[in-house]
């Protein structure tokens, strides 16, 4: 299946971004696992002509030989026989709750592409004892270049744009992406 854009979603604003792309005449697919309370944006995206793969997640990613481009994806539901291909992929998978970011005892990582994540190396500094103040882990997230391309081991993935609150240091570029894409 070919699309102009494939959004690897789950985070806030994924469908909003999708609708913006549809309104510019682009074809767009959104892959997301589940939804949040009170959020009807996915249905609005589907009604506007978007291709919604809800309750699904990326299983495998196929890269170009030098790893600088994503060539295709396949998902858990559709299986490895069904390749999804896009010109541009957008990673808008949210944070820990939506599994856009994952962690084990001593590291934080991005599970789909293994994109570079900024996080505190010492796990004992991941939280503060005061529940009511901002926690260090709330600032962990993806590092990107100026064009919001994802980085993997410091190298840009040319056709992977990072969107939403998965970014580090509390950034959220949904609004600006809506304008620039």
């Amino acid at each position: 299946m070919r699309f102009d854009y494939i959004i690897i979603g789950g985070g806030q604003g994924d469908a909003l971004l999708g609708r913006e792309l549809l309104s510019k005449g682009k074809s767009c697919a959104l892959i997301c696992q589940g939804r949040q309370s009170g959020d009807n944006s996915r249905e609005a995206f589907r009604k506007a002509g978007g291709c919604l793969f809800m309750g699904d997640s990326v299983d495998k990613v196929f890269y170009s030989e030098d790893g600088s481009r994503i060539e295709a994806l396949c998902t858990e539901n559709l299986g490895s026989g069904s390749l999804l291909v896009a010109d541009t992929y957008i990673l808008c998978s949210g944070r820990f709750f939506t599994r856009g970011l994952c962690s084990d005892m001593d590291k934080v990582y991005e599970p789909v592409f293994g994109a570079d994540v900024q996080f505190e190396a010492d796990p004992s500094l991941w939280c503060r004892s005061d529940f009511f103040c901002r926690q260090p882990f709330e600032d962990f997230g993806l590092v990107c270049d100026e064009g919001f391309h994802a980085l993997k081991n410091g190298k840009q993935i040319e056709n992977l744009i990072v969107a939403g609150d998965i970014l580090c240091n509390g950034q959220n570029n949904i609004e600006s992406l809506c304008k620039s894409l």
């Binding site: 696992q33 939804r35 949040q36 309370s37 291709c51 793969f53 069904s82 709750f97 599994r99």
Partner: protein
């Protein structure tokens, strides 16, 4: 403890979105809801199995909770497993009958005209209602004579002449109730250049057996089906979304079977067809005089599979088809659930939103991949319902399609 190992229950964050999207929650205050019945109660059932809640009988197994869950918890599977282990039916005979589609179908089919006539009489419906508890308000599906397999036997020889082959898992519905779908499927596949054969052996997929606690029979059927699929030397296609979900997923998650054979070879026909088309292996030519105004309904099990894209994209290829796709809703039948006297009203309440939205499209036909949705929608909307395969077969210009596909030989 087996239900805990693969269900992902530890991933539950208690966000409760599953409870918000559950169609039973909206209409029945007795149902504890997917979160409570699933990952919550599982921890207590692990301590003491008598913590099983009888009200789990209301779970429709629609899987909408799983589709909505951001944490990947197999909530419906946890509930279905708990029911398989613990549930006791107050109407054991009826549940066994409704679930034993092969048994009842093979008895009823030879006498189809008589059976259909008798079952539609008011007095028989009242009798079934007051004795074993089959709702008198439910329209019983019509049986067909001859069975699909009887008809197919006559085609077997000619089907072997095709260079490319696929195998057809017809399922109970096509065989005993609606061979027309099977015939449409064969005609469509032939036009695409594929001959059809049947598996060496097949039984009911068992979706109703599982839902009605008939674990032993479900396991038997699963073994037979998986063995036959394992032996298949061509893709095995199904025209039913529920058979496909059961054989590809439920056999593993609920019955503990090794589903490698079905994952490799068993496919929903619309998905397989679309993928062949995408590769250029199959081509379609459409009749110019085909006109239809239809609404596509995504069955809950289809949504769980994630395959609705394939039905919709195939249907969109038909030039004369005006297609609308309203928001996905549960039809409420949940297989045998809606036929049961004590649940019939709930089933209708759940489906009422869908019925309204389908009627609001102003369509002449509803298209859907699930046979039980078909029954429910036909009864609830008084609209004719067709499987996408039937629509494709009707819209296809058979001769032109044959030529397009034969040129590839």
């Amino acid at each position: 403890m087996q239900e805990s190992l693969t269900s992902g229950f530890e991933q539950c964050m208690k966000c409760s979105i599953c409870t918000e999207v559950c169609p039973m929650m909206e209409v029945n205050p007795l149902y504890p809801g997917p979160k409570q019945a699933g990952p919550d109660a599982l921890r207590y059932r692990m301590l003491d199995s008598s913590f099983f809640d009888e009200n789990l009988k209301y779970c429709l197994n629609c899987k909408r909770c799983e589709v909505a869950c951001p944490s990947g918890v197999k909530i419906a599977d946890i509930i279905a497993s708990a029911k398989l282990e613990n549930a006791h039916s107050a109407h054991a005979l009826r549940d066994k009958m409704l679930a034993s589609t092969d048994f009842v179908g093979s008895l009823a089919s030879p006498f189809a005209p008589v059976v259909n006539g008798v079952l539609s009489l008011g007095i028989s419906k009242s009798l079934l209602d007051s004795t074993i508890g089959v709702s008198k308000h439910a329209s019983m599906p019509k049986y067909s004579s001859p069975k699909f397999v009887s008809w197919f036997k006559k085609q077997q020889a000619s089907q072997k002449s095709f260079g490319k082959q696929i195998q057809y898992f017809h399922g109970c519905y096509v065989n005993y109730n609606y061979p027309q779908l099977g015939k449409a499927f064969v005609s469509l596949m032939n036009a695409c250049g594929y001959g059809v054969s049947l598996l060496e052996k097949q039984k009911c997929c068992g979706v109703a057996l599982i839902a009605n606690g008939q674990k032993k029979q479900a396991l038997k059927n699963a073994d037979i089906n998986l063995q036959a699929i394992g032996k298949a030397n061509a893709p095995v296609l199904s025209t039913s979304s529920s058979c496909t979900l059961t054989i590809r997923e439920e056999y593993g998650q609920l019955l503990g079977k090794d589903t490698a054979p079905s994952k490799e070879k068993f496919h929903l026909a619309v998905k397989w067809l679309y993928e062949q088309w995408e590769k250029g292996a199959v081509k379609f030519a459409w009749r110019e005089d085909f006109k239809m105004k239809a609404a596509y309904h995504t069955p809950c099990h289809m949504q769980k599979l994630g395959y609705q894209y394939y039905s919709i994209e195939l249907l969109k290829m038909i030039p004369g088809l005006e297609l609308s796709v309203p928001e996905q809703q549960c039809c409420g039948i949940a297989g045998t659930f809606g036929f049961k006297k004590e649940y019939h009203e709930l089933s209708q309440k759940i489906g009422s939103k869908l019925f309204s939205s389908l009627k609001a499209t102003g369509c002449d036909y509803v298209i859907t991949d699930c046979e039980t949705c078909k029954w429910q929608i036909e009864a609830g909307c008084s609209l004719p319902v067709l499987n996408p395969i039937e629509v494709l077969a009707r819209a296809l210009d058979i001769e032109k399609t044959k030529i397009l596909n034969n040129n590839e030989e």
